[in-house]
Amino acid sequence: MLELVRQYFVSAIVVASALAPTAAGISLIYGVMRYPNFALGEFMTVGGYLALVLSAALGMPLPLAALAAALAAGVISLAVDQTAFRAVRRAGILPPILLSLGLMLILQNVVRIIWGNGSWQLNVPLARPYQLWGFSVTPYQLISIVVSAVTLGAAYVVLMRTRFGKAVRALADNPDLALVSGVEPEPVYAGVTFMAGFLAAIGGVLLGLQSVLTPLMGWDSLLPAFAIAILGGLGNVMGAGIAALIIGLAGEYSLLFVQSSYKSAVAFVVLALILIVRPTGILGERP
């Protein structure tokens, strides 16, 4: 039993590490631009497959391939924002939602057309699990946790310590006041969409590292990522990290009591219960 409790703890953190960056991206875009971007799950898929191509076909070392894939995903995200989304900037919440749904379908099917419906494995050598403080962790699980934490930490530093980050927070907090304070919104929107694409792609590579790449990996992660973003407080990157842990732990530890097919349902029950107590999420401030 204790062994199981320990193992679930590890898998919860590992699951959280892949979902948290995507949730942070959802959170950022919602916080600044006020629409839920349903295409971000697909940026996980795109990031994972791009890393596969760059490492397997072009022979890049995987860490470099992952970074290049995330940068490319960020650029794709930025390009779509500057064309399609920019055209509907003042049109309310519905047009960008529909655009993101359309983009989601397009990206998902482009991946299917190029790589097929089967699964792919990132090219990583076999490895034995380490024993750390009684926990059994594979090197890839450890890498996943560390990379996720470092990525989120970097995003947090960018938001809290840079001029760009201050503009992001000002626009998310109070758009009109940000405008009269001289914040230019368009460069901020551009930076935020790049960051969101980048973050989601990192999450996608981590997910691929933990299991396999499939065309539906992003779609399967979308709802949990949204649950995490909402739980963490929309607009709050650190909240996304904490919420990912909560959702991950709730899902994994539910396996002690219910069948695994109920795992994601349990995560949503936890989401609902917490939102009853804190309607703006764990770290959310906005009423």
């Binding site: 001029r163 201050k166 503009a167 927070r169 000002a170 998310a172 907090d173 109070n174 009109d176 006041l177 940000a178 405008l179 009269v180 304070s181 001289g182 914040v183 230019e184 401030e285 906005r286």
Partner: protein, 247 residues
């Protein structure tokens, strides 16, 4: 417009001339004119929906003027964006949500010079802390968790940090206790004494008129009355409409 106007066009720091503005298809202002001299304290009165807030938003550049002209220190800023008007010395404090609620007091104040990243803020900061000593004690506090009066100080402090020549204040007394209003108005008055032109939109007509130099009364998006604050305060129509009876 009216013969009662005191500010002479040539010396005016802020001029709005026949300004038409509003939202999409609906005009709220149908040609409002105001003129504010350097260091002058001007109050804008009027019933709800008369266009007071719309006037301030149009002056600061949050809303576009559909026609008319706006001049700041002699420069035509009618087509200038909010950021450019800010750089030219016009700072606006909105009626509600005047602070960045998730930021600390210090971060809020720093947002006042966001448009001028290289500027040295130490003297401006000192000035803000002289007007509002309470803010100096609460630099690290998250603005959204402060009282309404303190938030109003943060909001005005943020605007002041940009060293404005014109300060547009939209109902800073909203939601404050009478004592807090007196306190705040006293501080606003000393800001005007230091040479900053103040344009104050207020529901609290009597108190605002007591400390202003001049006042404009708007009704249905046009100028209704203007003149020295004391004369407006004793105008029978103003007394009947805004000051509760003709006592």
């Amino acid at each position: 417009m009216s013969a009662m106007g005191i500010a002479v066009e040539g010396t005016a720091r802020l001029v709005g001339d026949a300004v038409v503005a509003g939202y999409r298809e609906m005009d709220i202002l149908h040609g409002v004119s105001i003129s504010v001299a350097g260091g002058e304290f001007v109050t804008i009165l009027g019933p709800n929906g008369s266009g007071k807030s719309t006037l301030l938003k149009t002056l600061c550049g949050l809303l576009p003027a559909k026609s008319g002209t706006i001049r700041l220190s002699g420069i035509d800023v009618t087509r200038a964006r909010a950021r450019e008007r800010l750089m030219a010395g016009m700072c606006y404090v909105p009626q509600v949500r005047g602070v960045f609620a998730t930021m600390s007091v210090m971060e809020n104040l720093e947002m006042g010079v966001f448009a001028k990243p290289a500027s040295d803020v130490s003297s401006a900061l000192e000035r803000v802390f002289t007007y509002f000593p309470r803010l100096a004690e609460r630099r690290r506090q998250i603005a959204g968790r402060m009282s309404g009066g303190e938030q109003q100080m943060v909001a005005i402090g943020r605007a002041l940090l940009g060293s404005p020549s014109v300060l547009l204040l939209d109902e800073p007394s909203a939601g404050l206790s009478p004592a807090a209003v007196d306190d705040l108005f006293g501080r606003i008055h000393s800001i005007a004494d230091d040479g900053v032109s103040i344009v104050l939109v207020e529901q609290n007509a009597a108190k605002a008129l007591e400390i202003s130099d001049r006042a404009y009364v708007l009704a249905d998006g046009v100028n209704r009355l203007e003149g020295p604050a004391r004369m407006v305060l004793h105008d029978p129509e103003v007394r009947r409409l805004y000051l509760g009876g003709g006592a």
